[in-house]
Amino acid sequence: MPLVPFIVASVIKSIIVIFILLTAVAYTVWLERKVVGHMQNRWGPTRVGPFGLLQPAADGIKFLLKEDLTPPHVYKPLFLAAPMIAVIFALTSIAVIPFGTSITIAGYNIPLQITDVNIGLLLILGVTSIGVYGVALAGWSSNNKYSLLGGLRASAQMISYEISLGLSLVGVLILSGSFSLRSIVEAQSGLYWGFIPRWNIFPQFFAFFCYLIAAYAETNRIPFDLPEAETELVAGYHTEYSAMKFAMFFMAEYANMITVGCLATLLFFGGWLGPVAGPAPLRVILPVFWFVLKVFVFLFIYIWVRGTLPRFRYDQLMAFGWKFLLPLALVNLIATAIVVVR
């Protein structure tokens, strides 16, 4: 593809993807409030628009218009930088996620993905591991004991669970033999015995289990939301944040949830693969639909877990990560390696 159409296509794709991602983040918040509300026998947001559908817009305007406080004794440069670090790295990882096959416009074949790199999965792991700094620095720079405890907990928790997360993905990598997310999905096409899809979830069930738990811990969600445990730490690392700076942490958390859902879909559930039929436009749209549907299921599970489980104690969290999840991921890795080599 020549340079100019390539740049034009990339810019258009980036704008569309960022727009959709931010909308998805806003509506995930709405979905969470609605679903958790119904689980707890409440209605959730109902006042703004039909079914409260305009609530995200109202929240956004509220965040923008509220007074942006900077407490007097904070370490200002880092206090300002921390939410930006969190949100930038949370949004970056979407760049390598493929969400469909490809379309042909004006003779150019454009894959439905901002960019396909050979080391896509490693890039996502790297970007999420940098995202820890947002939380850790927010906790430290706030000059508040609750924030500091939240930041310390977040960094210890994220380092610990990152190992299990990485090891649980190696099994999938052995099966597909590539770091490129597109090839990983393409390696899952076909059927076992003619009726079960060749998704990695079947041979790699324990890896999926490990991945999902470790990913919940990485995104600081219930039952691992100790960095912001409101019953013990006020609000944890974002105690001192208000208005748009707080909203940035909020956006980062939900964007990370969506990334986790996308990765789980791509690595274990065959990405955009699914029954495809009909005329040519439908053949492009249906894969995207399957992908979005699978990601939506993961987001729903996230919310379901939040509505169901209580929070861990901190020593339980650490013991679980190191004494159960890590050995499980290792055993799964060894078993996969033995089966593949044999």
Binding site: I119, G126, V132, A136, G139, W140, S155, E162, G166, F179
Partner: protein
């Protein structure tokens, strides 16, 4: 001026600025953050050399794990700004000219004797599969030895960082 050279210079400037900032800052957390910037820019340089896997590991292991550990310890000990003491004067008197002299000498030797052989963009692609082949065949023994090293380091860290009273109690039992 090729795009390769421009990107090399851009990443290089970030590297050097980060390294100098590490020295100039008095608070350890600022030093840690500038070191993270250096590591990120170095990952960019690795990508220019084609070592994509090394670049990814540089970000994941160095910037994402080792430096988080540093930031964690700085936060845990609530380390404040550095106190200047008299003892460092000799180091400054000897160190600054020594560093400048050493750098100039090194740069002169390198520039004079390495000629103008150029390294192209992605000169030596290091795909993960090839690196894995090398690591588990040709370098299997060093690889195993480093795993033993890591194990020893973990045990050492646990023993060192555990509270002295806890060690005492264990001995009494």
């Amino acid at each position: 001026m090729s795009i390769h050279l421009i990107m090399f210079i851009a990443f290089g400037v970030v590297c050097v600025a980060g390294a100098i900032n590490l020295l100039a800052q008095s608070h350890p957390i600022n030093s840690a953050l500038s070191l993270i910037a250096v590591m990120g820019a170095l990952a960019g340089e690795f990508l220019l050399l084609g070592a994509e896997f090394v670049a990814a590991v540089q970000v994941i292991v160095y910037a994402g794990a080792i430096m988080v550990l540093f930031v964690f310890v700085i936060m845990l000990l609530n380390a404040g700004a550095e106190e200047r003491t008299q003892g460092s004067r000799v180091a400054i008197i000897l160190g600054v000219p020594g560093m400048i002299l050493g750098s100039v000498l090194l740069a002169w030797v390198v520039l004079k004797h390495s000629g103008t052989q150029a390294v192209a963009v992605g000169a030596l692609p290091g795909p993960p599969s090839t690196i894995g082949q090398l690591l588990f065949h040709q370098f299997l023994l060093p690889f195993e030895i480093t795993s033993v090293l890591i194990l020893i380091a973990i045990m050492g860290a646990v023993v060192l960082a555990s509270k002295p009273e806890a060690v005492q109690k264990r001995k009494e039992h």
